[in-house]
């Protein structure tokens, strides 16, 4: 059983993704997982075919390997961006150092995942990408909310129902990140990158404790829990 089947797909409307990856084992593995998670998956084995598909078909997201035959991954993305194709692209690579990551993002990639990866990590990031692309422009909003949880970004106030909740600055950032990704699975690595801006994993799992503290503040004493743990993957903030 793949981890991807443990939570429902991203919604009623089927999402289309193109996987451009020359390693058939990887692409088959990703295709199976994404299909189970409710995605409509196309696979291209090399850069040229991938570029052709990406420019002629409409996709919600691209998964692009870096070292591809014929057209290199970054070149492919750069070419797409040059022709105003803004389909969100997740770069998959065995090159995981910070400068490789920066190069990938500079070329027009939207996220970067280092091989080997857990499928749950890929799925969570892919869903975050698609969501971000759909809600682009909402980044300037001043309040975020979920059910009866409300966050005022200007006053930096958090309320659940009528109750004012006092959060530490980092807890506030953590909640903001989760709210911006509400309904999606957020992995520990995504949190480390998004909230702490660290691109390395501490040996001890320190994120769990931060989450459980936040949960203690926003969920404790309320009927309906909002912050859920997704086993083997991460967390999800949802009603």
């Amino acid at each position: 059983m793949l981890p991807g089947s443990r939570w429902p797909g991203p919604g009623t409307s089927e999402l289309r993704v193109l996987i451009i990856e020359d390693d058939r084992d990887v692409s088959a593995y990703v295709r199976q997982g994404l299909t189970q998670a409710g995605w409509n998956v196309d696979v291209a084995d090399d850069g040229r075919q991938g570029l052709l598909l990406a420019t002629t078909e409409k996709y919600d997201a691209l998964v692009v390997d870096r070292m591809l035959p014929h057209v290199e991954g970054l070149t492919l993305i750069r070419t797409l961006r040059a022709s105003d194709n803004t389909t969100p692209a997740l770069i998959l690579s065995a090159l995981g150092e910070v400068d490789d990551r920066v190069k990938g993002l500079q070329a027009g990639g939207d996220d970067y995942l280092v091989k080997p990866f857990a499928f749950s990590e890929l799925l969570a990031r892919l869903e975050a990408l698609v969501r971000r692309a759909k809600t682009a422009g909402n980044l300037n909003e001043t309040t975020l909310s979920l059910a009866d949880l409300e966050v005022d970004l200007l006053k930096r106030e958090v309320r659940r129902g009528s109750q004012l909740i006092d959060l530490q600055p980092r807890e506030f950032q953590l909640l903001e990140f989760l709210l911006r990704h509400q309904g999606q699975v957020v992995t520990r690595t995504m949190l480390l990158e998004g909230v702490w801006n660290y691109h390395f994993d501490p040996q001890t799992n320190v994120i769990d404790v931060h989450i459980s503290r936040l949960r203690g503040k926003i969920d404790k004493g309320f009927d309906k829990p909002l912050l859920h743990t997704v086993r083997g993957a991460g967390y999800r903030l949802s009603a």
Partner: protein, 479 residues
């Protein structure tokens, strides 16, 4: 040696260039010398002949009587016979005269036959049998004779007409000496040019070969390096640009060898130290495969173990990457104060769960020249480590302070500490103390801290915190 191969080499092309350049300049020089010496002598001879002719012409013109045209001719004939029969010695060289009529018949002179050589600009050169029987070269000028005639129909001449008689006077001079000099000169010039070309060829060849030798030597060494012998270095000969190139290439090779060494070391470590965990994982999977219905839990355990191997692998690569200096080019001034505070904050919640207190004494404005991410990771590893070994109710001290031109970072715990004799060993990769095997982690934490510290030109000291371990990192403060 096969010739066609040589034709394609730069040696051959350089040599030919030398020969052509030397040949042109030698020929130019020779030509100039020839014109200024032999040419000068020739002009002198010509002047002598011209003077003789003008003497004769003046006499001829003076003797002209328009009414009796033959008088002047007779006078000329007389003079020529006189001068021709005299031994006109002038440097042992004879004058030759010959007066002919319009049918080229001899009228007077000491030449018997009108020369048949080509007339060039009034000058003619030919050979004559001299009195001593030798054939000698003669250079001569030819003067056509013009006679003034008066109208013969009156008692007194009233008009003059000028008539070309067809008579011609040849005045020549033996040029035995000049011709000998000329010949010798040309022989000398030819010889000199040949010699010059020979020297140019030899010199060019020698120079080109010596230049070529460097290149050949370099490419031979390069081939050895390609074949896998990275210890080879190009020979540095002399102080020219070849030597400079060889030096640059050599330092490039040093760097490559250094990096290759690092890589090999990582490879060795991976081979040596990942084999254990991988073997354990394999054994486990084998046992799992034998079970009729593997449990979810046993699969998860295998996954965790595989993740552990990957984490170790990544940590190793990261250490190698740090040690290679790859991050240095992105170094900037960063304040260690906030970095340390952030890391402490990341761990505080976990520490509180374990009933361990993180006591911070952090001074801001502790600016070093470095990489935020690397320093954060080093601190993370130190605090992670301290937390692992600090017993419940213990404490961890995190201190960042400035001391003169140094920034001092201290992470001290109240755990069991490390015996003095083992402190150096824990900084090595994969070195964990046996009694701590039960703790999670891959034993690479301190090795990375050390690598980061080295890259920031810092010093890492482990000491006794009585009780516990005290890690002191001393970094140079940014200027």
């Amino acid at each position: 040696m096969p010739l066609p191969a040589i034709l394609r080499t730069s040696v051959f092309r350089l040599t030919i260039l030398y020969v052509v350049l030397f040949g042109i300049s030698a020929a130019g020089l020779g030509g100039f010398i020839y014109l200024t010496t032999v040419g000068y002598l020739q002009r002198q001879t010509d002047e002598v002949i011209e003077t003789e002719i003008s003497v004769l012409r003046e006499e001829f013109e003076r003797a002209q009587d328009p009414l009796r045209p033959t008088v002047a001719l007779n006078r000329l004939r007389e003079m020529i016979n006189n001068r021709g029969s005299q031994v006109q010695q002038l440097g042992d060289e004879w004058f030759y005269y010959m007066l002919v009529d319009r049918n080229t018949r001899k009228v007077a002179g000491n030449l018997e036959i009108w020369p048949e050589a080509e007339v060039n600009d009034g000058w003619i050169e030919f050979d004559v049998e001299a009195a001593d029987g030798q054939m000698v070269p003669v250079r001569a000028s030819i003067l056509p004779l013009i006679i003034q005639l008066s109208a013969l129909n009156g008692p007194r001449p009233t008009t003059l007409s000028v008539e070309e008689t067809g008579d011609r006077l040849l005045v020549g001079r033996e040029i035995r000496e000049l011709s000998a000099i000329n010949q010798r000169f040309i022989r000398a010039l030819t010889l000199g040019l040949g010699l010059t070309l020979l020297v140019a060829f030899a010199g060019g060849l020698a120079l080109a070969i010596s230049a070529q030798r460097h290149v050949v030597e370099m490419s031979r060494t390069t081939r050895k390096i390609i074949a896998g012998d990275l210890s080879q270095r190009l020979p540095v000969i002399g102080h020219d640009e070849h030597a400079e190139l060889a030096k640059s290439v050599n330092s490039m090779l040093d760097q490559i060898e250094h990096l290759m060494g690092g890589l090999r070391h990582v490879g060795d470590s991976i081979a040596h130290d990942l084999r254990g965990p991988l073997t354990r994982l394999r054994t486990r999977l084998e046992a799992l495969a034998a079970e009729p219905a593997p449990t979810r839990q046993s699969v998860d355990e295998c996954l965790t173990q595989a993740d552990g191997v990957l984490a170790t692998f990544n940590a190793l690569l990261r250490i190698a990457r740090v040690e290679s200096g790859a991050y240095r080019k992105a170094f900037a001034n960063v304040d260690l104060g906030p970095i340390a505070a952030d890391v402490a904050e990341l761990y505080e919640a976990t520490a509180e769960e374990n009933l361990v207190e993180i006591r911070k004494r952090i001074t801001d404005n502790s600016v070093v020249f470095g990489d935020r991410e690397l320093l954060a990771q080093a601190l993370t590893n130190l605090i992670d480590n301290a937390l692992k070994y600090t017993p419940v109710g213990g404490h961890i001290d995190l201190e960042v302070k400035r001391s003169d031109d140094r920034i001092i970072v201290v992470v001290a715990d109240s755990g069991p500490g490390i015996p003095a004799e083992a402190r150096e060993r824990v900084l090595q990769r994969f070195a964990r103390l046996d009694e701590s095997r039960s703790k999670p982690g891959n034993g690479l934490g301190l090795a990375l801290v050390r690598a980061v510290c080295d890259q920031h030109d810092g010093k890492l000291v482990l000491s006794d915190n009585a009780p516990g371990l005290r890690v002191t990192m001393t970094l140079p403060a940014a200027r």
